[in-house]
């Protein structure tokens, strides 16, 4: 077993070798970075696995970032996290940190110093990060599940299959945007909706979007990928003229014919948008932003929207981000207006990964397709989806307000 030194590497290599067989790989290949999603504390088994590896002296072989953990390491006491649960989640953080990983604790590792580059072979976990790395950066990762990501990091190897290989990165499903106005394409709320739709329709195919004339920002593409990887299994998408492997239709499909062609019109988009809202009426208890974790640009945008305003006293307002991004935002002066507004910031985790929300919170509003997708089932809440500006206006008013002008018939 090449590369297996010591008992931890042997265990990691044993799992990796069995998985290589499942993938039908004839060989393993080197990677030069990893991102570990197994950090999220789920229960005793995941903790036992992490502590087994750490106890055997596991060390990562490549630069490795860590996904969100189960708690804000230095701020969990301010929330509803039970102390015994926090103790276990913390042990899991310690175990992964002890393996030599960088304690980034973020689901947006592509917005850190360890952002991969075009063509780089990596092993990433976390569905939104996988979609972003492959699609927006042109780095190459399979959809690495929890528990396997760390085995790849320890061995520095992956099965040479799937999205690591050029021939498997060609588009398969062509989605043509038809009659989608430019003003909507430029709006933040368009991207989670399009992503949600793509995830639902793509199945296991690689989707290609044509007809996007706006120039989406990095954060808009991040929102699209996160939504597509929640409602579906999307690990790679191409957008003609936008993403790096899709300068032309021919390039995106590697000169093959699409297996399917579908038109995406406003009617379909409106339906996708309505699916992201599970709440009824305009009652509101809490606004949650930051899935994936807020970037410095998003903090800047938010600080302008909330400047000089106050959230309604009955509405909680939370932004989830990484410790590094929050420190950058603080030093750039973007946090003061948010704090004056009555907003709070949590780092290292999110509302889906940590039992932090008070149990009486049942009605959320968010601009995140991922929060909107998962919160109803995981947190037993009802969610209203809206743009960032809608979320701020609603927090001020104390009830849900949405600007429908861009979505109207």
């Amino acid at each position: 077993m090449v590369g297996a030194k010591g008992p931890a590497a042997k265990l990691a290599m044993s799992i990796l070798a069995r998985m290589a067989e499942v993938y039908g790989a004839t060989e393993l290949m080197d990677i030069s970075a990893a991102h570990i999603d197994s950090t999220i504390y789920i229960g005793e088994a995941g903790l036992e696995f992490a502590e087994r590896l750490a106890g055997l002296g596991a060390k990562v072989a490549v630069p490795t970032t860590l996904n969100v953990s189960g708690l804000d390491e230095h701020g969990w006491q301010e929330w509803a996290v039970p102390a015994d649960w926090a103790a276990k989640a913390y042990r899991q953080m310690v175990a992964y940190q002890s393996m030599g990983c960088v304690p980034t604790w973020t689901c947006a590792p592509y917005q850190t110093d360890l952002r991969p580059v075009f063509g780089q072979q990596i092993a990433w976990g976390e569905s939104n990060a996988i979609a972003f790395a492959n699609s927006v950066l042109g780095a190459r990762t399979e959809r690495y599940p929890d528990l396997l990501d760390i085995c790849c990091a320890i061995t520095g190897r992956v099965p040479a299959v799937g999205l690591h290989l050029t021939e498997n990165r060609a588009g398969q499903l062509l989605l043509r945007l038809v009659g989608v106005p430019l003003a909507l394409q430029q709006d933040d709320s368009f991207y989670p909706v399009l992503g949600h739709l793509i995830g639902e329709v793509a199945g296991e195919q690689i989707p290609v979007v044509d007809g996007l004339y706006a120039r989406p920002t990095e954060d808009q593409l991040k929102a699209l990928g996160a939504a597509a990887a929640s409602s579906g299994a999307v690990a790679l998408f191409h957008i003609i003229g936008v993403t790096p492997e899709a300068p032309t239709l021919g390039a995106a499909f590697q000169d093959r014919q699409p297996e399917n062609v579908l038109s995406v019109d406003m009617g379909w988009l409106r339906q996708a948008r309505s699916e992201l809202t599970t709440a009824q009426g305009d009652d509101l208890q809490m606004v949650v932003l930051g899935s994936p974790h807020f970037s410095i640009q998003e903090f800047e945008q938010l600080s302008k929207l909330v400047a000089g305003q106050k959230a309604h006293p009955q509405v909680k307002f939370l932004v989830t981000s990484s410790r590094v991004m929050v420190e950058l935002a603080r030093r750039a002066g973007f946090l003061q207006s948010l704090e004056d507004f009555g907003g709070r910031v949590t780092v290292d985790t999110c509302i889906l990964a940590s039992p932090m929300l008070p149990p009486d919170i049942k009605l959320l509003m968010t601009n995140s397709g991922k929060y909107a997708y998962y919160a109803p089932g995981m947190l037993n809440t009802r969610v209203t989806f809206g743009s960032l500006a809608d979320c701020v206006r609603s927090a001020i008013a104390g009830r849900v307000l949405r600007d429908e002008s861009l979505w109207e018939e």
């Binding site: 265990l11 044993s14 799992i15 069995r18 998985m19 499942v22 993938y23 039908g24 999603d37 197994s38 999220i40 789920i42 229960g43 005793e44 088994a45 995941g46 036992e48 696995f49 087994r52 976990g125 976390e126 569905s127 996988i130 399979e142 959809r143 690495y144 599940p145 929890d146 528990l147 396997l148 990501d149 995830g199 199945g203 296991e204 990887a229 929640s230 409602s231 579906g232 299994a233 599970t278 889906l352 997708y373 998962y374 109803p376 089932g377 995981m378």
Partner: protein, 138 residues
């Protein structure tokens, strides 16, 4: 008798719970109870513990494997899993369940036509060689 591609070998029998919709176990499977909790999913509200769970593939979150491993440890996992393609997330959970607890979950990939013939409530026997008997005598 139909035959599936053996991804993780093992024998099992039980009532099948089948859906044409993929599922993310993160946010979709409560490992404390074995209940399917994704409200958008057709199987929502049903308990999969000890059943033969048939899902075409796993959706979304890469945490699905961790949730399934917890279910194995907690005794709330399905008795076996049937899919249409080779699902690497289910396979990994089963392999780690084997390495950690010596309790792998049998996993078979069926041909789409065989998968489509499954009906919830059928009694199914899965054999180590990938053979699947439907409505076999209990």
């Amino acid at each position: 008798m139909m035959r599936g591609k053996v991804v993780i070998p093992g024998s099992a029998e039980g009532e099948v719970m089948v859906s044409a919709e993929p599922l993310s176990f993160w946010g979709g499977y409560d490992f404390h109870t074995g209940e399917i909790i994704d409200r958008r999913h057709p199987l929502a509200g049903q308990i999969a513990t000890g059943k033969i769970l048939a899902l075409p593939f796993t959706r979304g979150s890469s945490t699905t494997t961790a949730v399934l491993l917890e279910a194995v440890r907690a005794g709330t996992a399905p008795a076996a899993l049937l899919t249409t393609g080779v699902d690497s997330f289910f396979a990994l959970a089963s392999i780690v369940a084997d390495e950690m607890y010596a309790r792998p979950i049998p996993l078979l990939a069926l041909k789409p036509v065989d998968y489509a013939s499954l009906r919830s409530g059928d009694w199914i026997v899965i054999r180590e060689d990938g053979g699947v008997e439907v409505n076999a005598e209990k």
